[in-house]
């Protein structure tokens, strides 16, 4: 028994001391950040590359969800947050301190489907997507879908609708789009939100869950993030944009969505770019933001964050395409660089 206790004690000692390999020798700046899951891959890439270039700065990012990020930021348990949807006016006014929004990358949401006998890309009108998710369009051969896809043999089966079961930025972007293009949706289901009262359909957990359900269930449709579709080579459809054109989501069409309205983006960068004007624009696109407190007491942390932001807007953007994220348009980068000086 005594031997066992000794072993346990030794283990305790070693575990407490573990990790001197990190830059623990005084001067290490450890930052904690939390928030959106959508940009996690690119953020972890950035923080890792930045750490290699600046070994004394450790930025620890955990994807606990946009809402979680906002809340942890407001509680003061993290140094900065990340969110797929901008904070609302209410949230900002309730916050004890001022929070700045910095767009980082662009992402998009695409409709993926699994229809018996149909290969190739389908075109979805705005009305079609809204109707499907409202439940008013129940069968695949509904005229609204058929008229945009002449020559495609759509079955008369019921549409199995798949949405997200967990609250997510992806849902936020998708519902933002739907509420803009369909008054019915806006009245029945409401505005953009990470979680809504879906009129119909099954829920899948995460992009993985939605994709899994769609793959397995004949005649189903779901919405997922573009990077997810690209990385997993999942077929997805074209969506009609505000100019009436059917656009397939890719990095260029997503960046176009941000560039289209670049001048009208407000100074605080809280803007929705879904359904933007322009023929080449992909309509279900969105920024994702880092939420930084306007005032940071700790000088070392403040400088580290500001430096990272500068790096992110220049060097960092080069990594976007490799991970299938769209780059920020130049006009936005210029304005953001100016906004960094707002952090005191």
């Amino acid at each position: 028994m005594k031997k066992a206790l000794l072993v346990v004690w030794l283990m305790m000692l070693t575990m407490a001391l573990t990790g001197p390999r990190a830059a623990a020798q005084g001067g290490a700046i450890k930052l904690n950040a939390a928030g959106a899951t959508f940009p996690t891959p690119i953020y972890t890439k950035w923080f890792d590359v930045y750490h290699t270039a600046h070994p004394n700065v450790e930025i620890n990012y955990q994807s606990i969800g946009s809402g979680g990020g906002i809340r942890q930021l407001q509680s003061g348990t993290v140094d900065f947050g990340a969110s797929d949807g901008p904070m609302s006016d209410d949230q900002l006014s309730q916050s004890k301190f001022k929070i700045l929004h910095f767009p980082t990358v662009l992402g998009a949401v695409v409709p993926t489907y699994n229809i018996v006998g149909v290969t190739g890309d389908l075109n979805f009108t705005q009305k079609a997507l809204a109707g499907i998710y409202l439940g008013s369009i129940a069968k695949w051969n509904d005229p609204e879908i058929a008229k945009a896809n002449p020559g495609v043999n759509l079955p008369s089966s019921d549409i199995v609708v798949v949405h997200r079961s967990d609250g997510s930025g992806t849902s936020y972007i998708f519902t933002d789009f739907l509420s803009k293009v369909s008054d019915d949706w806006k009245n029945k289901v409401g505005k953009a939100n990470t979680s809504v009262n879906w009129p119909v359909g099954l829920g899948g957990k995460g992009n993985e869950g939605v994709t899994g359900l769609v793959k397995q269930t004949p005649n189903s449709i779901g919405y997922i993030e573009l990077i997810y579709a690209i990385q997993n080579k999942i077929p997805y459809g074209n969506v009609q944009n505000a100019a009436g054109k059917f656009v397939k989501a890719d990095l260029a069409s997503v960046t176009a969505a941000a560039a289209a309205d670049a001048k009208s983006i407000p100074d605080d960068f809280r803007v929705s770019i879904t359904n933007a004007a322009g023929p080449k624009v992909y309509p279900i696109s969105s920024f994702t933001w880092l939420l930084i407190p306007a005032q940071i007491q700790d000088a070392a942390k403040r400088d580290a964050i500001k430096d990272f932001l500068k790096w992110m807007l220049t060097e960092g953007q080069k990594y976007n395409e490799g991970l299938s994220y769209a780059q920020l348009p130049k006009e936005v980068i210029v304005r953001e660089t100016k906004a960094i000086s707002l952090i005191q």
Binding site: K3, L17, G19, N32, A34, T44, D48, N60, T77, E208
Partner: protein, 281 residues
């Protein structure tokens, strides 16, 4: 003597006993299916890097979960240190000292505690340990897991203490031992096998919990020193990687699941070994 009644009883005997065998076989097959699936999917992604490297961003090979493995060990250690004694002593109370009503209330409450979703316990630990100091910590994660360890430990401790036959206690008392001496030197050792099972079961359960750690231990892509910093853990890494779009991360998630199981297996073996040694006097 083959009256119909006896034939009936004998057939019933055969049928029921066979059924129990079938049930056990079914469960064991499912078990092997799960283990096999894990080994198949995870085993192929195991490598030396997995055990020694920190997580790398997507697209870079050679990343591992070294900090998560150590993190899980640290968290389990904290959970054991905080939760097991509470469970054990409370179980002793219920079995040996308790009054009727108070014991009933404690047992009932323990069952209630067991049914609380793990995320709610995480939120509770968050408001208790994280908010006051405004940062996440391994300690907070340990508190959350420690709370979850208590109910199973209490139940099994009480159950197996009660199972010790009365004559053992009486014999000890007849030799002049006080009540607590009896418990400590006679009853507890006699029940130790079952109690240990309960404790290991409790620890095994919390080893795989993700939700309570999200708001307490948080997670860390780097090494975590001491007990007051955010810390990585295998379940959280599995969760983060499993829902990501990248195949490499998926494979790492399976590997992590396998490693987690192996960890629990080793702790089980280790604990039983220590127990056997200490009993073999």
């Amino acid at each position: 003597m083959s009256s119909p009644r006896i034939i009936w009883r004998k057939s019933l005997n055969f049928v029921m006993l066979t059924l129990t065998g079938v049930a056990a076989f079914a469960v064991v097959s499912v078990l092997f299916l799960i283990l096999g699936y894990l080994i198949w999917n995870g085993g192929t992604s195991l490598s030396w890097n997995f055990f020694t490297q920190l997580p790398k961003p997507v697209g870079e090979t050679g990343g591992g979960m070294a900090n998560a493995i150590v993190g899980s060990l640290k968290l389990l250690f904290l959970a054991a240190v905080m939760g097991l004694p509470v469970g054990l002593l409370a179980g002793v109370y219920l079995a040996e000292f308790g009054g009727k009503t108070f014991s009933f209330i404690v047992r009932y409450t323990t069952d209630l505690l067991n049914g609380v979703p793990s995320i709610v316990i995480g939120i509770f630990a968050y408001s208790l340990v994280v908010l006051p100091v405004k940062h996440f910590s391994a300690l907070a994660g340990g508190v959350a897991l420690g709370i979850m360890v208590i109910p199973i430990t209490v139940r099994s401790t009480e159950e197996f203490l009660r199972a010790v036959p009365g004559n053992m206690r009486e014999a000890a008392m007849a030799l002049g031992a006080s009540k607590w001496k009896t418990i400590a030197t006679v009853v507890l050792p006699a029940a130790s096998g079952g109690i240990l099972t309960g404790m290991l079961l409790a620890l095994a359960r919390v080893a795989g919990e993700t939700a309570p750690l999200l708001f307490t231990a948080f997670g860390n892509r780097f090494w975590s020193q001491g007990w007051g910093q955010p810390i990585a853990s295998l379940p959280v890494m599995i969760y983060t990687y499993a829902v990501a779009p990248y195949d490499d991360w998926h494979r790492q998630a399976w590997a992590a699941g396998l490693v987690l199981l192996a960890l629990v297996l080793l702790s089980n073996l280790g604990a039983r070994f220590i127990l056997a040694r200490s009993k073999a006097v």
